[in-house]
């Protein structure tokens, strides 16, 4: 009899705990948003040509992409005939998180879309496990400087089919045909200037 009443008591306690738990919300827990990041930096590192190879110089121009999607500075200068290493770093909590994307390099790829053709040429320098380009590191060659400025759009795609024909050219404006979604999008102006003689006051 004693055991029975104890069992009943235990059942009541368990039952009422379950019931009460089902009646009150939990305190919410803040989530660290995995998909979000705080910003990105585009480093244009000028290279010096030595016969068949390049050396990095200390002459680096940076464009910073902020959380609100704006780029600072809104324009930058590159010199005709020079080659720059474009190194992209993505930041979260002041930490570079490029490796997260590189680990899934087979479904991530950058596209670089100038608003006018023939000013620059981009070459991917990094590869995923299928030997397809990603775009965290690449070379930008400035082909010409005549009269101008152009908009430079940088897009990071996630989940695309990298074997698709639309994913083969670095400057394909129809990159979305390869599928996937945009993880990051930045746009700023590039002002290509003639050999060593650009005058910033012009702008």
């Amino acid at each position: 009899m004693k055991t029975l009443s104890r069992n009943i008591l235990a059942a009541i306690i368990i039952g009422s705990t379950l019931f009460l738990n089902a009646c009150k919300k939990d305190n919410p827990v803040p989530e660290v948003n995995q998909e979000e990041f705080d910003g990105a930096v585009f480093n244009f590192i000028e290279l010096e040509g030595h016969d068949d190879h390049f050396h990095e110089t200390t002459d680096t121009t940076k464009v910073i992409l902020k959380a609100d999607g704006s780029a600072s500075p809104s324009h930058m200068h590159l010199t005709e005939g020079h080659t720059y290493k474009l190194l992209i770093n993505i930041f979260k909590n002041n930490r570079i998180i490029n490796q997260e994307f590189i680990d899934e390099g087979d479904i991530h790829q950058f596209f670089f879309i100038p608003s006018k053709p023939d000013y620059i040429k981009y070459t991917y320098l990094d590869r995923d496990k299928n030997d397809r380009p990603i775009g965290f590191v690449g070379n930008v060659e400035v082909l010409k400087a005549d009269n101008g400025a152009f908009d430079f759009k940088v897009v990071l795609r996630h989940g695309l089919n990298k074997a698709h024909s639309a994913a083969q050219a670095w400057d394909n404006a129809n990159y979305s045909q390869a599928g996937g979604a945009t993880d990051m999008e930045a746009e700023f102006e590039i002002h290509p200037s003639e050999h060593d003689g650009h005058d910033h006051e012009d702008h």
């Binding site: 089902a22 919410p28 998909e35 705080d38 994307f101 999008e185």
Partner: protein, 773 residues
């Protein structure tokens, strides 16, 4: 609370005892015959319900005899599949014999037996039922697809695997679904959240089109969907059925097994179990496959009932478990992605067939437990108690960086409902129902999603009390009701905010309380044996849901930044609906017209601001309130122009407007008409072939520029359906074959949220086999 309730019941009971009669004089003989009112032929298999208690099924004979009837008022309800229910009221003082006429409700009577169901729907309500033929054919499809056979009921789809019912232009939290008597509580606020119910469990699907808030409570603004299982068996022994369905599009297969029985040794007990498994792969449009559109579904339900002379109890448990692939061509990162895809009008890649379900996908598990008891206090009064416990776990997976196998949304919604009602009949033809209902709901986000949830954690509670009085006369019925509801909500959550260039999670809370009184009056006029006119005016309301109150973030599925408004008030609706039912030998007509005026209608308004982020630019939308009208008409006619040939015409039209801003409302079904001709081969209803033609007009009630893409053009579809019955030793095997979209047309429907990205399903050849033992 309990004391008050007991007092309430005691008072109602006291008021009733004056006319109650002692049970021991219950020995009168009452005989009857059930006939088809159109053909005057005997009708076998009807269920006879007297004063709310099932007295008998007459599977073999059309006659019934009871010898335990108490003197006094008898409310006799007779139901049988394919026929409209009848209510007859007689005052019995000595032995009596009656003839009860039933009229076919619609369409061909299916040979597959579905037991009749309980007297749930009151007769002044404007209701339509899915016919048996349509219900049989809907097995293995989505609940909303089964309901869409009813004129005035459409679907709001998200791709192919998710469909929500739309009743006369309203959906989601504007509708109430009663699953086996319990209000279904999933995360219904989302347009991409389908109801978690397997149509196989339904013995009957009914839609109440009026404002039925009195009996069922808040949210029944646009109508009520009743999903009711068949009655438990009364016959001793074990019986059951196997249903198999296979379809070519998506290469899908469905298998369902049902077993039921009444053990002879344990008197009064009856049971049923049903299990269904469904698997389908990528769906094919006329031109291409849609990748990641497979589904995997497993559902199970068990019922145990016990009946004594006065007390009827039932335990019910069901589990619905589904995994739905979301077409991956609809996964977009920003508005540029969206406009690129709209410009293309179809996926960039043709896709291939696969059963694999990747990301994005939804995994949903819905558990429902129900306890129901009905106690016959005296011959004319009954007390019912229904308790429901539901647990809905919704997990949504997205394409994510490194953690695609971690859900980005993981919500557990636990809901407890309790309904107590008391029904009594009086000798002068009044039926009175009084009830109390309560709801306790808790929503929690399961931590660890690494994504800030769209909706906060919340506690919600509701309490309501109602009174409905109905006067039943031979030539007319009148009904009036009033209800009071109180609802409270206490929410707490985090939202993202960019502070000094970094994203932070900011804590917020909210508390809201709502009170509302609703009322309705309605009536039915039985003009003659062939013609009934029903009309109903009712008010209804719904409190704003958490997503409308507290959303503040990027909704990736819709490429929009949505901002809630914590000060939103409740929507209040006034609906007037009138219907005509005509049944004469060759012609049956069901038509209804309605006007629904909704004050403080909640909608998403574009704010003309842009939200700029690292991902690109998004338009922003704010939840606002306005006044809206929904007006329209539904029509169904069947005409058997030759003994073996029948014609059916079905159509619906809705006009919905924001009357404050003089704008059209979005996501309103376009006008549609369906025609079909059927031929009963050899004059046997079980051998038939039917050709159907459906026309859906272009939605022209659209504000130019208000959507990413204008409504798609009108379309025409052809469907073929044929069935037969094969005699096996002692049993029958029913076979049915359907070809949907016979011409394999490539088309889009305005009511599909994925119409931006892809087309509708191409040709589908479906074979169904059903065997009962």
């Amino acid at each position: 609370m309990l004391q008050r309730l007991l007092l309430f019941i005691a008072i109602l009971n006291l008021a009733n005892t004056a006319m109650a009669l002692p049970l021991d004089s219950c020995n009168l003989i009452f005989k009857g015959t059930v006939i088809d009112g159109n053909t005057n032929t005997l009708l076998k298999g009807a269920t006879i319900i007297i004063n709310g208690q099932i007295k008998a099924s007459s599977p073999e004979f059309a006659e019934f005899t009871f010898n335990d009837i108490c003197p006094g008022l008898l409310i006799i309800k007779v139901t049988t599949p394919g026929y409209a229910d009848t209510d007859t009221v007689i005052n019995i003082t000595s032995a009596r014999q009656v003839i009860i006429k039933l009229y076919a409700s619609s369409k061909n009577l299916s040979e597959v037996q579905i037991s009749a169901s309980r007297p749930h729907v009151h007769n002044t309500a404007i209701s339509s039922q899915v016919s048996n033929t349509d219900l049989q054919q809907a097995r293995g499809s989505l609940l909303a697809e089964a309901l869409a056979n009813i004129p005035g009921v459409n679907m709001l789809r998200t791709g192919t695997g998710i469909a929500k019912p739309v009743i006369q232009g309203l959906h989601s939290n504007h509708l109430l679904t009663l699953n086996n008597g319990i209000r279904q509580e999933g995360q219904q606020w989302g347009a991409e959240h389908g109801p978690e119910i397997d149509p196989f469990i339904a013995g009957r699907l009914t839609v109440l089109k009026g404002a039925e808030a009195i009996r069922f409570g808040p949210e029944a603004v646009g109508g009520v969907i009743l999903v009711e299982p068949a009655e438990l068996p009364q016959k001793k022994g074990i019986q059951g059925g196997v249903n198999l369905v296979g379809g070519t599009n998506g290469r899908y297969g469905v298998a369902s097994l049902m077993l039921e029985g009444a053990p002879g040794k344990l008197k009064g007990f009856a049971w049923r179990v049903i299990a269904t498994k469904k698997r389908s792969g990528n769906i094919q449009t006329a031109d291409y496959y849609m990748n990641n559109t497979g589904t995997d579904e497993l559902s199970f339900a068990a019922t145990l009932g016990h009946k004594t002379k006065r007390l009827e109890t039932e335990l019910y448990y069901s589990r619905f478990n589904t995994s739905i692939g979301i077409f991956n061509g609809a996964h977009i990162g920003n508005v540029t992605d969206l406009t690129d895809r709209i410009a293309n009008g179809r996926p960039f890649e043709n896709g291939t067939f696969s059963y694999a379900i990747g990301v994005p996908r939804q995994n949903i598990v819905h558990n429902l437990f129900k306890f129901k008891a009905g106690y016959q206090l005296n011959p004319v009064s009954r007390l019912n108690v229904i308790y429901g416990l539901q647990r809905n776990n919704r997990q949504e997976y997205d394409l994510r960086r490194k953690i695609s196998e971690t859900p980005s949304l993981d919500l557990v919604l636990t809901t407890q409902t309790l309904d107590i009602n008391f029904e009594t009949f009086s000798t002068n033809g009044w039926k009175t129902t009084a009830g109390l209902s309560g709801l306790l709901q808790v929503n929690n986000s399961v931590p660890g999603t690494l994504a800030t949830p769209l909706v906060p954690n919340f506690d919600s509670y509701g309490a309501g009390g109602y009174l409905v009085a109905r006067l039943i006369r031979n030539s007319y019925e009148l009904e009036g009701g009033i209800r009071f509801d109180h609802k409270g909500l206490s929410a707490a959550g985090y939202r993202n905010e960019i502070i000094d260039g970094t994203t932070n999670q900011v804590f917020y809370t909210g508390n809201r309380k709502f009170n509302n009184i609703t009322a309705s009056v309605g009536g039915v006029l039985h003009i003659n044996d062939h013609l009934d006119i029903r009309t109903n005016v009712g008010s209804a309301w719904r409190p704003p849901v958490v997503s409308e109150l507290y959303s503040d973030g990027l909704h990736h599925g819709t490429a929009a930044y949505e901002r809630g408004n914590s000060m939103l008030t409740a929507e209040k609706s006034y609906k007037w609906i009138t219907s005509v039912d005509f049944n004469k030998q060759k012609v049956q007509i069901q038509a209804s017209a309605y006007v629904n005026l909704i004050y403080d209608y909640i909608y998403l308004q574009p704010s003309n601001q842009l939200y700029e982020s690292l991902r690109g630019v998004f338009p922003t939308f704010d939840y606002k309130q306005t006044d809206a009208t929904f007006a329209g008409a539904d029509f169904l006619m069947t005409y058997n122009f030759l003994p073996a040939f029948g014609y059916e015409l079905k159509g619906s039209a809705v006009r919905a407007r924001d009357i404050k801003n003089q704008l059209y409302l979005p996501w309103i079904p376009a006008d549609r008409v369906e025609n079909s001709i059927s031929w009963n081969i050899g004059g046997k209803p079980e051998n038939f072939i039917k050709l159907g033609y459906q026309f859906v007009a272009k939605q022209t009630q659209y504000n130019a520029g208000s959507d990413y893409a204008a409504p798609p053009p009108a379309y025409h579809l052809l469907n073929v359906n044929a069935g037969t019955k094969i005699r096996l030793p002692n049993r029958y095997l029913n076979l049915n074959c359907t070809i949907n979209n016979l011409t394999n047309k490539l088309y889009k429907d305005y009511m599909n949220r994925f119409r931006y990205y892809a087309h509708e399903m191409g040709i589908n050849f479906i074979l169904r086999a059903s065997y009962n033992f």
